[in-house]
Symmetry: C2
Subunit: 253 residues, 2 copies
């Protein structure tokens, strides 16, 4: 698919030993991908790094220099292993300070006796702005083209709602699916490639499935021009049937 | 945790537009992480890149130069968007050839009439070796310190069984969990940090949970010395109780 002209591109940086150890199944990447897609922003790359400051800094600097936006998840809690704010400040060569709005929220909730662990969560890099947290706990923040969100999925999703309106939006990518049942990928590959080559502005992918009820492929057609996507769905179905592939139909999702 | 001495480190490279579009929830990263962990190999980084050759090549070269092993998933099917073999060959500055063992498997199954899409799946970089596929379809391959596996989870897991015995194994990381219920992270942060500082060879992480039944944190203690891990679990529980935190216990998982 056309990846250059007018496209707005983002990367996700997942921070956390718990993902790399396999202890936790990440779901934030998919949620962010779908959210960005709905806002016309392409997720172009994702990285997962451990809770090690130099790793976070290196990945963040590589990604923020290359993409329009970077969204990070994880490492903004109150414990010693939550070092994302420190790493982001280091990446931007700036300092952390205790944000007065967060301190005020904390004082309103807990009174004047805010323990050091909670105060850690009030720290924001100089030059940053807050990202609202409608779920629980202190806000995230944004600095430059980087958005720093929580790792807990329900909190992350809440914070994401305060991100979209700050993004430059490209044309939304429309995706449609053609489902082939009872034929393997190798039976449809040539036809699929022919149609793909006729539509260089689109991306056509084949995702095989093997289910109790049978096997086949979901052919996913993606593009920024809804009319072209719809026409290509029809074209692909006709071409597959012409090539002798039965049991082909457009499906939802 | 001690990341240097004797540690064997790997990276995962997930290849596929379907992950970055949010269409598919990746589960391979976690499966690989758990598999590597059981073999004493630390998963140190993961990247997800689109079906674009130069992106795959750049990521693969960065990762294979830095880590002991790289495991890739995705992009080895028969369709035009499956370009992982081409990208791996390009990264290693070598050519693809049709591997006679794979052609023989295909001929045994389909006779002499192997269509071009299927032949694509017989291609292996010069210098590579096969990775068995006990599930369905052609094998994966390995070249240098890179293992190239399928993206379909059940096939990926099957191929993984032919990877472990080829890896140099480090000491297995042992993980145990201390569960705190009814206390927020900020109430335990200082105690946790104190114990963590006393055990620099270990990693102690706090992962908050918010469930229908209540809230709290899972404190995960990881290290290569089982005796130290067990002793630290006890030490942490005593320290938390001494700090007035109730409802603390070691749990499975």
């Amino acid at each position: 698919m056309d990846r250059a002209e007018g496209a707005v591109r983002a990367a996700v940086l997942i921070i956390g030993d718990e993902i790399l150890s396999g202890r936790t199944q990440d779901t934030n990447l998919r949620d962010i991908a779908l959210y960005l897609g709905a806002h016309g922003v392409d997720l172009a790359e994702a990285r997962t790094v451990p809770d090690v400051q130099e790793e976070i800094v290196a990945a963040l600097n590589a990604l923020r220099g290359r993409y329009d936006y970077v969204i990070t998840t994880g490492g903004i809690g109150p414990t010693h292993d939550d070092i994302t704010a420190d790493a982001v400040a280091a990446a931007f060569d700036t300092e952390l300070y205790e944000h007065p709005d967060i301190l005020a929220m904390m004082t309103a909730r807990w009174g004047d006796d805010i323990n050091p662990a909670r105060r850690r969560m009030a720290r924001v890099p100089v030059g940053g702005e807050l990202v609202k947290n409608p779920v629980q706990g202190p806000p995230g923040f944004t600095i430059g083209n980087v958005f720093v969100l929580a790792g807990v999925p329900q909190i992350m999703r809440g914070m994401l709602e305060d991100v979209g309106h700050r993004l430059r939006h490209g044309a939304v990518v429309v995706a449609r699916t053609v489902r082939v049942e009872g034929s393997g990928e190798s039976a449809i590959a040539a036809t699929l490639e022919g149609v793909a080559k006729a539509h260089p502005a689109m991306s056509l992918g084949s995702y095989p499935f093997f289910e109790a009820g049978g096997y086949g492929s979901n052919l996913v057609l993606r593009g920024r021009d809804p009319a072209e996507v719809n026409a290509t769905v029809d074209e692909l179905i006709v071409a597959l049937r012409g090539a002798g592939v039965e049991n082909v139909r457009a499906v939802e999702g």
